[in-house]
Symmetry: C2
Subunit: 477 residues, 2 copies
């Protein structure tokens, strides 16, 4: 799309604040869906950014996330998005505050800015159609409207909200007649036949100024809260100001707060192969199925399965006679659920909390004398760990024959020995340890040192550690 690329006023705002409960146990509270490589080699967040290359200029990309996810967001986007463009909400408050924050921040930079707001964890297959739809939306938004994207349904889906489109404005741009809650099966079938009903994609385009005007009208408290800190936005006082504001404002969706009330809401009738990847069952829509309608990913043997989703992170799943079931296996927990009931996984996660099994909401942690680590992700030839070193802790002087390691400090300070060199790396800095280079990691500080380690190599076993010196006495001869 050239319209977007040449439109210097278009800012892309990626909302990356998902809780990740619906993809439990693969996603966890600190590792939600957008960080997962569910489909292909890229995470959903990485794919979302890549998809915008032809739409917005790199300096006009912004990610809004929450503090507990900001480290991972910064790390996953370090090659595509400037760390300054990762905006951190102190806590998630649904979409309205996130969009308000983005609108005020972007208007401060550019009074004429247009904003494309989109979730970080959706899947889109037809890029050209996506770009074309954005072009149409941009035209509508430039005229002072809030433009949504309505997806032409291809099945009687009960898991999505719908937009009823009204009068044609031009070509694929319509006025919105109403927003419709997730329907029951009967209504979903009616909507599928009636061409005016579209799936609500949760993607929007509008001018920052338009949104701010509508916020003033329909969400005056939120408007006031952000107007009051406009001066601090984008400065080093922003973080404190946001903490103050977020302690007061309530959670609300932009749909409920603005879109369902505003008179300026348009919809672009779109068909770009969209899925919100809203549940395990959605894999059936976006991943190639076998002849019996199963999506099978990972290590499993399934005798006589039909219409099922079987996902293993490494351990073996062995099944007989699965019928429309979802089975998801991770290192510490296994989910088994009928496909029709995947929406209830969030209730199951609630139940884990109630029954004292909170540990399963976080990635599996392993304790070591120097601290602990959790494997965030493992794949062919790579592994991502979250490592935490206690103050004054010191790993062994070691080397690996088969893997290189990339370390990113996300909290604290690291003292690194790499070959003959010794140096420090601070928060958001990184270093790279090639294979066969002797190295040592140490936390010289007073607070825990947290790093993300990405190992890559053909063999990533714990047995490929040649220790030369270890304060915990684990040196190998």
């Amino acid at each position: 799309m050239t319209a977007g690329r040449t439109n210097k006023n278009l800012h892309a705002v990626i909302m990356a604040g998902g809780k990740g409960t619906r993809f439990w146990p693969l996603s966890r509270e600190t590792f939600p869906k957008q960080f997962l490589k569910i489909i292909g080699e890229k995470t959903l967040l990485e794919s979302t950014i890549e998809r915008l290359h032809g739409v917005a200029q790199p300096e006009n990309m912004m990610i809004i996330t929450t503090s507990n996810q900001s480290e991972l967001v910064r790390w996953q986007t370090k090659e595509t998005i400037s760390p300054d463009c990762v905006i951190v909400e102190p806590e998630g408050r649904n979409t309205a505050p996130a969009i308000a924050l983005a609108a005020f921040r972007i208007r401060k930079e550019n009074k004429d800015a247009l904003m494309l707001v989109l979730p970080s964890d959706h899947h889109i297959t037809r890029l050209a159609a996506f770009e074309a739809a954005i072009s149409e939306a941009v035209a509508g938004a430039a005229a002072g409207n809030l433009v949504t994207f309505g997806i032409v349904p291809d099945r009687p889906e009960t898991g999505y909200g719908y937009i009823k489109s009204g009068k044609t404005v031009r070509k694929n741009l319509f006025r919105v007649e109403s927003f419709v809650e997730k329907p029951d099966a009967r209504h979903a079938r009616v909507f599928l036949k009636d061409k005016s009903y579209l799936w609500n994609s949760g993607i929007f385009v509008f001018k920052a100024q338009t949104m701010i005007n509508e916020l003033k009208k329909y969400m005056p408290d939120l408007y006031k809260a952000f107007s009051g800190i406009e001066k601090q936005l984008g400065t080093d006082q922003e973080s404190a100001a946001l903490k103050n504001v977020y302690s007061r404002i309530k959670a609300d969706s932009i749909d409920y707060g603005v879109l369902e009330k505003s008179k300026k809401v348009f919809v672009v009738r779109s068909d770009f192969g969209w899925s919100d990847v809203g549940s395990w069952s959605a894999l059936g829509e976006i991943v190639k199925k076998d002849q019996a309608g199963n999506v099978v990913l990972g290590n499993s043997v399934n005798m006589d399965a039909e219409g099922s989703i079987v996902f293993s992170s490494g351990r073996l799943i062995a099944s007989i006679g699965l019928r429309d079931m979802v089975v998801v296996d991770t290192s510490d927990a296994t989910l088994i659920c009928p496909r029709q009931r995947v929406q209830e996984v969030k209730n199951l996660v609630e139940k884990l909390k109630e029954t004292g099994k909170q540990e399963y909401l976080l990635p599996k942690t392993e304790e070591r004398p120097w601290g602990h680590f959790a494997v965030l992700e493992k794949g062919p030839g790579y592994q991502i760990k979250h490592i935490c070193l206690k103050p004054k802790a010191r790993l062994s002087l070691q080397m690996h024959n088969h893997r290189s390691e990339h370390w990113i400090v996300v909290s604290g300070i690291a003292k690194v020995q790499k070959g003959e060199e010794v140096f420090y790396i601070n928060k958001n800095e990184s270093t790279y340890i090639p294979t066969t280079v002797k190295h040592r990691l140490e936390n010289p500080g007073m607070i825990p040192l947290k790093i993300i380690e990405i190992q890559s190599g053909e063999h990533l076993g714990e047995d490929d550690i040649i220790r030369f010196d270890d304060i915990y006495g684990r040196t190998k001869q």
Copy 2:
């Protein structure tokens, strides 16, 4: 029961040669069902032995097993059965050869011996009724008959073979009219109404001499094979003689080979709360169910489950809406299967072989610089490991604050340092390491040292290893 206890001629022969495929993934090829604590604190084998305390004298107990299981059998029975009474078949050949071997061996000791032959992995709830049934069977067997135990059905079971009882001999003792294969559902319902049909329990009583006579008549090859090595039985030439015999004889069940043909077969009509624990679904018959008819053992959260069996060895199983399903989770594999199809688990195990996943037929192994180990079982306060040390391998000099360890050498020779003492232990010998005693295990030999380690204590983590000296350099400061 006093009849059995005072009957010095009654020998109990426990058949412990099961393959363990039907309880996969909890049971494995080298760790079959009889070694599992499926119900309560004792393994099925231990319960079987305990059940015979009032029936046969300790010196009249015999276990027949196969070479790949003999180590575990000897270890699990070391306090109840003399190691000389564990008879090892070179390979499993179904029940006929095992019973022939037992009969020839026992008759050699005692021409008048009676044999109670029973599987090692059944479950019986009513001990007094069991003992009373044996009394009746002993009376029938003493008169020169082969006496089976037929269980009064309480449901139209299609998973068992049936015995059709004929003329009454006395009280609960009947002639057998015929043996009936596992029926279909319709026939099973007919059998349930017709009082003459009983479940074939696979438990028998007969004189050793009677069985030998019947073998001569109906299985002459098998008779000849064992007659030919009678002199070697019970001597140090037995093992070689058995190897020779077993390389020639074919696998056959005693039911097919003798019982279905003999004219001397009686049945004791019995009702002692019997189950063959033949599949995961059988847990539903012998373990207390919750209100929705589920058997839930181990770490799981099951929303809205009905009629299901959920068994976890430690990891979390989280389910929604299970209906008559079996879910079994172990450290390396998870089974999911409708209850009605548990008989197919053995096919699934076959499929694992075909698809190159043989590793899941053995307990999960962890590699270490000195060799490897597999956790055979883990429970509150104890853990059983199979440990293999390479020749010349030497573990660290270490101690544990929270656990004691019991080591049994099952192959090779071990050099043990325990406190200030250093000594050797040979195959089938053991030693005990109390908490806080410094110890070291070494393989001074030329072949792998295999030991069974039983850890007990309140905390069994790998972090409770205080290392003083370690050739692999893992000493802790």
